[in-house]
Structures are given as structure tokens and as C-alpha cells.
Point group: C2
Chain length 200, copies 2
């Protein structure tokens, strides 16, 4: 039986509960879409996947296949089990928010990953104490030798996927990043949908 | 009149209120001490200096003299007005915590910057919603070309100081990092006191 594919619409977020041992496959359907990804302990929303703690544990800013992704309590919450893309995922840049788009010159409300996190959690009756800094899947941010942040386009191709396996009961939130004012979602500046499926 | 010097004892934290326009001079008294530094909007503890947001604003992981340090609402909260040290301050590593020391093999409770933040705020009747990832003054963490995190010793000398000027009414918290299990506070692995003074 084919595995069921679920949609994350362009510019939107979705929350997905995983039991310990279950996995989520996140698919870059059209190949150039950044997916801001958070993960919370299902039993305690104040424990969440934390990039700043991950940097110390991994001794790297780039997680790779096989790496445990840790929480702010330094416990594994997800494992990056499989990655068919070139493996460049950002861990140093905050989720976009209404303030970011205002500073870029957007006069109107702009969809953003920070609000997507809150909305996606609200849909399942949850609330986060803050918007943690996300794992930005496929966001290509090399750091120069002088510490400079370089805004690259994703290196992946359509259909590339990442599999994250839950190390505890948890809630994963995905946001198909609505950034269309800088080419972080590819040169076309056109945010797209992505898909995910659940693995046993 | 000599400016009054205030002590942050070795392994301890202190909270300091600043009015907009006031500045704090943080002095690396003995030259090898990392100082984890947070800053909260005095009117709203859910708005705080955020390294992940700073990376996007600065387009760098290393703030330098003249840079505005921004909050999770992307507003300047402090300006890095003066830095007499070589200017290497970390922005990617989480504050140490009891979990970090347990993983390093410490059997007993170990002083740590995360608890120091909570204690220092409690002394002035405040509480943070989470422990934000701090500006780690003088913590020397170069990032290698492959994204590797390198644990260096501080590059500064005794008496080097950093001046931070408040862009809004705020509460700065300093923690003289108690890390003595890896040489992040210098090769001697001996945390020391630091000092600060307030400027008009």
C-alpha cells in the first residue's frame, strides 16, 4: 500500500504528533522550499529542540545523517535518520516573523514562520512558551571565514527528503517558509507546498 | 570621581537594570573569563536579546563595535559601543546547564549559567519565560569551513572591556561562566570574577 502523503500548503504550517519510535519523512516536493522545523516534548512544551544546544552537542552547525537532534535539556528528541539532499540545513537563523518583513519593506501583513508555528500548534490545542529558533531544512546558509552569514539558495532537487525519527513522544511543527522578498526559497522567490508522510 | 566597580563573583550571576541611554562596561578583570550575557525588555520579559535574530540582522555571527544587538522582535536593545578586546564573542552556543555538566561526567550539582540567569533575575523579582541563548562575551568559538565548532580559549587580556549601551529600558544579566571541565575560560580551567560599572 502506498504511504499516505500529507500536504503542507505553500506559506503555511502544520503540527504533527509522533510517538517515540515513529518517524516523519519531509519531502521537498518542488525542490527549492525551505521548511522551518520545530519539535516539542509532547509532555512538556518548555522542552524543545534547540539549535544553540545542538551546536554544543554536535560540535557543528550542520547536522548530518545519523545525528541526534537535542532539546534545551540536551536530550535527543529526533534523529536525522536519512537525508537524500546534499545535507545543507541552517541552524543559526531565526524563523521569519512580521518584524522581519516590515524591515524588508513590506507594508502589509506577510505570512511568516513564527505566526505559522503559533497557528499550527493552536490547531492541535497547544501553545509554545516562545518561538524557538528552528531547524531550517534546506535553508543554505554557509558561514564565511570571518563569520559572515551568506544567504544561499537550497542545494536540493525535487523529491529530496529528510527522515526524522522520534526519540520521545513529541510534536513536530513544519512551516513552508513564506519568504518571497529574498531568494532563500530559490531564485524564483516563489514559496511552494511541501509534503510529509508518517513511517511506523 | 572614580567610577564605582561592581563585582560578579566567579561562577555567579548578576542582574542590572539600565535606563534607555545608560551603558554598562563589562570588564574581563583577569582576562580569560567568559561572561554569558542576556538582555530583557524591562517592560516585557518575553522580548529579549536573541542571537538567532541577530545573525539575520548583522549577516554575521560575530558582532563588532557599533553593532546594534536586537531582540526577538528585531528591535535594537543594546549597542556594542566599545570593545577593547580582539572582539571574538560567541553567538551560537547555548548557556551551560546542569545537563551539560552531567554529560561531561560531573556527578554532583555544578554551578551553571542557566541557573545563574534564573537566580540573578529572581533576586530582582523577575522571571524569564525560557533561558534565551546568550551573547557569550569573550567565548572564542570559530566556525570551520565545514561548519565545525571549535572550542578556543579567550583572546583577550586582563582589563579588556566591552561597553553596551541600552537602546530601551532593559535588564542585563551577566554570568561569570563556571565552566571548569573544558578550557573555555582559559587553559587553567579556573573560572574567575569579573567586574562591571555603569556609565551615564
Amino acid at each position: 500500500m502506498a504511504r499516505e502523503l500529507h500536504l503542507v500548503p505553500a506559506r503555511r504550517g502544520r503540527a504533527v504528533s509522533l510517538a517515540e519510535g515513529q518517524a516523519i519523512q519531509i519531502i521537498n516536493t518542488h525542490g527549492q522550499q525551505v521548511v522551518d522545523t520545530w519539535c516539542f516534548n509532547a509532555a512538556d512544551m518548555t522542552e524543545f529542540m534547540s539549535m544553540a544546544h545542538l551546536h554544543a552537542t554536535l560540535e557543528s552547525i550542520f547536522p548530518a545523517e545519523g545525528d541526534a537532534l537535542v532539546t534545551n535539556h540536551r536530550r535527543p528528541i529526533l534523529t536525522l535518520e536519512r537525508d537524500t539532499s546534499p545535507g545543507r540545513h541552517d541552524t543559526v537563523i531565526a524563523a521569519c516573523d512580521r518584524h522581519r518583513y516590515a524591515l524588508l519593506g513590506c507594508d502589509n501583513d506577510h505570512d511568516n514562520c513564527t505566526d505559522n508555528l503559533a497557528s499550527a500548534l493552536a490547531e492541535v490545542g497547544l501553545e509554545a512558551p516562545v518561538c524557538p529558533s528552528p531547524l531550517n531544512l534546506w535553508m543554505n546558509i554557509p558561514i564565511g571565514p570571518d563569520g559572515g552569514v551568506i544567504w544561499g539558495a537550497p542545494l536540493c532537487k525535487p523529491g529530496d527528503y529528510v527522515t526524522l525519527r522520534a526519540a520521545m513522544d513529541c510534536v513536530v511543527v513544519l512551516s513552508a517558509c513564506p519568504q518571497d522578498m529574498i531568494p532563500i526559497n530559490g531564485a524564483a522567490c516563489t514559496p511552494t507546498e511541501v509534503h510529509y508522510s508518517l513511517l511506523g
